[in-house]
Amino acid sequence: MNPKAKIKIVAVALILFFSFLTFKAVKSSLVYYLTVSEVQERESFSKLKRLRVSGVVERGSIKRNEDGSISFIIRDKESTIYVQYKGVIPDVFRDEVQAVVEGTIEDKVFLANKLFAKCPTKYEDDKLGNNRLSFVQ
């Protein structure tokens, strides 16, 4: 057998091995990314292992509990979810920001162990934007 053919065989074997590994890895690390109403609409989702849900933090809903955890409500246009979270709170996190929580649902309470927050980009509807003078448009 010539060296080139040997290399090809080894390469194909390696690629198969890694494809298999990738497949296994995908299966074990899946997280479903849903909106608040999607979670509420389909109860079946709550049986899934891990969920990531994004929504806006309801104004005035953030409460600090004695054990250092926080609870708050996130909403989208149609529904809301009650969230409990313990961990570092991102600097940007507060009322009315877009928050992303990751965790599981138990008895309609979202138990999060990851929390991300994003500052909304207000480029289009802000006051600055309204009085811009554009040469181009």
Partner: protein
Amino acid sequence: MFNNIGETALFLSFLISILGLFSFSIGILKKDDKLIHIGSRCVVSTFFLVTISLISLIYLLVTKDFSNFYVAKNTSNDLSALYSFTALWAGQEGSLLLWSWILSIYIFLLTISKSKSKLIPAAQNVILFVLGFFIFLIVFIENPFELLLQPPTNGRGLNPILQNIYMAIHPLTLYVGYIALTVPFAFSIASILSKDGSDDWIKLSKKWTYFSWIFLLGGLLLGSRWAYLELGWGGYWAWDPVENVALMPWLVLTAFIHSSMAQEMRSLLRRWNIVLMFLAFFLSIFGTFITRSGLISSVHSFAQSKIGIYFIIFILLITIVSVFSYQKNKKFLLSKEDITSLVSKENFFIFNNIFFLVITLTVFLGTIFPILSEAVTGEKILVGPSFYNLVNFPNVLLLMLLMSIAPIVPWKKGNLANLYKFVFIPLLISLVSGIATFILLNELKTSLVVLLSILVVAVMLKEIIIDFKVQLQDRMEIKKIITLKARRYCAFLVHFGIIVLILGINFSSVFASKYDVSLEKGETAIFENYKIELIDTYKKENEAKSILGAILILHDGGKTYILNPEQNNYKYEGNREINKETEVAIYSTLTKDYYVILVGENLKGNFNFKIHINPMVSLIWIGSLISIVGGIILFVRKREIND
């Protein structure tokens, strides 16, 4: 006034780059040197015009001229001069202008270089096309010189988490590296379009690939250091889409730097190298697209914008041109030689490439998984960090194995018996260290990493010792030996840095621990072998912010460390939604980082802290720096004896 100057210069540069594109294209087709010369003139003018435009924007930023929309969006009166300057790349429009300027420097350097290669005009044409696209974006879509009818009295300010020296230079460093990839890409296209059967493009590209590699690694290092110091989650890498797209071009470029040696030395893998270069450039544009378009949601919240569609068109165009020219002319790229043995350097480079590409593919798949799954199943599904770690770990081990033996295997045909003889003692040492690690720590992954690390280092040391022994017997001066073997020693230095980096990543991720502590003033908490005491807390105010701080003493064994975490609340928040910022307190030693976050004051008046003990994080920064130094020496070195 500077608004007008900047905008006019920008618009002119767009027209001139189009003129340049036409004269280059026609000049190359008709082999008309005059037209090519005109093209080069256009390049020089474009460079000067973009420079004028950039200086205008910097002037507007530093003087805080709020009649400019971009300035009003990204600076405020309380912002220091340094960060007013770095606000240049805090927003979309400024970033794109900076991007164009850097690319215009590269094409300018290429134009004034003394190289007489036939590939230069075609390469200039390709770069000018890319530059033209970016200038088009700034002139017509994201204009940094937009004016406001009524200038506000204060701008909305720079996001406080961006007011950090690492963050100030990290994007710039990444840009410099990313954009430099355009040049070797242009050489590869030029080579294939001109049906030039030579390996010239590899030689022309070499320094550019080193340059880009150094800056990409530097950018990744600065970015993770920033995340570690500033974001306050105790980690430095999260497999976030924006991190991933910065990593991928670096991975492909690393693969290319290895496989291009096979072409340089033996004229092998000629088609493959072209494909790799296409891929590296494609990934760098893809990365810009992902970070700038907001297509995949990421913790890095960049502005969503309208440039996405133009990027898609641009990427498609680049892909079509690359694939088409490759298909048409690949017959000119047949290798004259062939791989003759499994045990040979060239073959090991092929395996190196396979592993690097598998890692890249894994990262790519993980990054676009939400889009793929939504298209196929209608559900948005993500893959977590465990996905990347699971697939990449065996790849990294295999790469380390290659890293140990490939450098000492000769080209063409190696001898297994000789190889075995050479690595016998290093292998013995590394096996012993691996087993010892396993007994001590009882952790398989770490033991494997240690085993292979020691193997790589031991083989390198043996090689260096033998080198010096032989040459000193021949009465050669040490300086001469080093010059003679410079390229190889630089490679060793880079490899050594990567080994240190891998050890740092392994130890800090496997053995990290974290604790939640709630303390009142004067109280002491004990966890495992550590004792921590809250000495004092304070509240301070200055013009820009109010500060809540704590002073703690941490005891570990006989040593004590003073830690001072803070929480800042910015008073003037402008239009940004962030006004809180956590200042993490870190005490770094070589073996451990003590990392303390002040979470806040709770209802009972106690203070909550998060304490991370991260072992060997320092090795990550040290290792990357060693590799960067190795890369820099490779880059600045002039002589190429014995290469």
